[in-house]
Assembly symmetry: C2
Homo-oligomer: 316 residues x 2
């Protein structure tokens, strides 16, 4: 039985091995992913993002439990962006989720940023595709933070759930504004805290500012995920979003997702040949030295390298 067949039959070990090979960018692994691709598009991909400390992991944990209770096979992609400077990962209270790790109906995979050219959303797409092909009915994609990386990652999901909590100050309005734009369902978690109703009102107000008339309404759900309160309502809201976006809206989303994935794959491939071009010219440090000392200029060097790449001199 080929690894492809094993994965299509739902073999988790085969899927994990393929994911590892994809991390290493083995050409054979990419060839396998191509063969799996026609078998994807069936899983429901749900993103969960929001402010650090909002309780995203607890919400994800509750969703896993409910989808498992409904007999669904669940994949989880936990995206841990690390600082580009330290390489350290923020793990938070993700440990809780590990109690599902022994459930054969749950497959959990962590992803970390690998520097600027690492392609976190590309990696997320790859992992989601493998989980989809191996028969997961639901794939939950959870991020730690709320930066641009996480917003990019959320482009790979069908429904984006943004989790917030009462009592966040004005200082993060700018961030909230960016993340609000991508929310399909909003969760006010820890709703037993003071200010929960005010948080809902504030979000409603922000949504009004965002939407013109006639735009799709974003549902707001109050939860106390730690106690399981409100999670059934959240599942129902996600379901309604699925039904509402089954038509043209969903196709448009699929198209945008495919476009973003394609663009990123090409960018990554070109970055690879660019790195090779730097090495051929003595390394980027030597080039940068010449630029910094004003012996040459970055515009000229960039132009020369691009011309060389496109002339076929760097054909692979």
């Amino acid at each position: 039985m080929s690894r492809i067949d094993e994965i299509l039959a739902g073999n988790e070990r085969a899927a994990a091995r393929l994911m590892r090979d994809l991390d290493d960018r083995l050409p054979s692994a990419i060839a396998e992913l191509r063969l799996l691709y026609p078998h994807t598009g069936r899983a429901r991909v749900i993103g969960v993002t929001g402010n650090p400390g909002a309780g995203k992991s607890t919400v994800v944990d509750g969703l896993i439990e409910r989808y498992r209770g409904a007999g669904k096979r669940v994949g989880v992609v936990a995206v841990d962006p690390t600082s580009p400077f330290t390489g350290g990962a923020i793990l938070g209270d993700r440990i809780r989720m590990q109690r599902h790790a022994t459930d054969p109906g749950v497959f959990i995979r962590s992803l970390a940023t690998r520097g600027h050219l690492g392609g976190l959303s590309r990696s997320t797409c790859d992992v989601v595709s493998v989980l989809d092909a191996m028969g997961c009915d639901v794939v939950l994609v959870e991020t730690v933070g709320v930066g641009q990386d996480e917003i990019d990652v959320m482009a790979a999901t069908d429904t984006t759930v943004v989790v917030t909590v009462p009592g966040l100050g004005d200082d993060i309005q700018a961030i909230k504004a960016g993340i609000l734009e991508i929310a399909d369902v909003l969760v006010v978690n820890k709703a037993d805290r003071e200010g929960a109703d005010r948080a809902v009102r504030d979000l409603l107000h922000m949504l009004e500012l965002r939407h013109g008339s006639g735009a799709r309404e974003v549902e707001i759900v109050k939860t106390i995920a730690l106690r399981g309160d409100g999670l059934e309502l959240l599942v129902a809201a996600i379901d309604r979003h699925r039904v509402e976006t089954a038509g043209a809206d969903g196709r448009e989303r699929g198209r945008r997702r495919a476009a973003a994935q394609l663009a990123e794959l090409i960018e990554e491939g070109l970055a690879e040949v660019t790195r090779a071009a730097f090495v051929e010219r003595g390394g980027i440090d030597a080039l940068a030295d010449d630029i910094a000392a004003r012996r040459t200029d970055p515009y000229g060097v960039a132009h020369e390298i691009i011309a060389a790449l496109l002339s076929g001199a760097h054909r692979r």
Copy 2:
């Protein structure tokens, strides 16, 4: 007199026209920038970033005043990232700075994000180079937010000043951690607020965690920028950073900056030919449709386009 000569003689109008042409990516403008490049590297480039609401604009305003008082010519680059979704700009209280707009010794230029391929840090480098060539002694680069874009922009500066305020909650620790990594000087603004000393202690603690022994110390300056308090201390701290980084440290920084700029210029050039390749294949929407409908897969399409680009088929 050519525009190059006009700019080198300090003509602001000529500089503004070149910046506008650079925005439009006119090849002639890039050629001019290449000619200006050997005349750059003299200005002191100071970045000011930090949490929204921390009073960055007021700090920048105070710095302009002090550098003008010392007879220096000052350039200001105000970087306004806009949401990639709405196109709306966050202007904040930047209006205050406009009182310097009539001072012939101050040149203010705003920059906004132009979508994913817009190259905000590339634009910042270009504008800084022009300001440098036209004889600005100091160039202040101010950002609105504290996301990855802003961190990238700060790579173009010699000294990065990170402005924060007392009383920011734990929820933004993750963001603070990322921005702390790039700080050369830390400012606790609005230091008359409760909790200023605690904020300083917290920052000291975070810096300790960040640094191994022997690392350069990051100075922390308390200011009340609205009243002008502490700004002399800030100028002195920036000066000390300049002196300390005049040697090997500064050269390394210049090298990293050149490397980042070169990489971004190449990325941007390749993105342009990639867009042309999409158009030749019926547009990215048609390609994305085929992928979303599983008639093809993104890995295969990406591979074909990269191969075509590198074969010389798309020579410019």
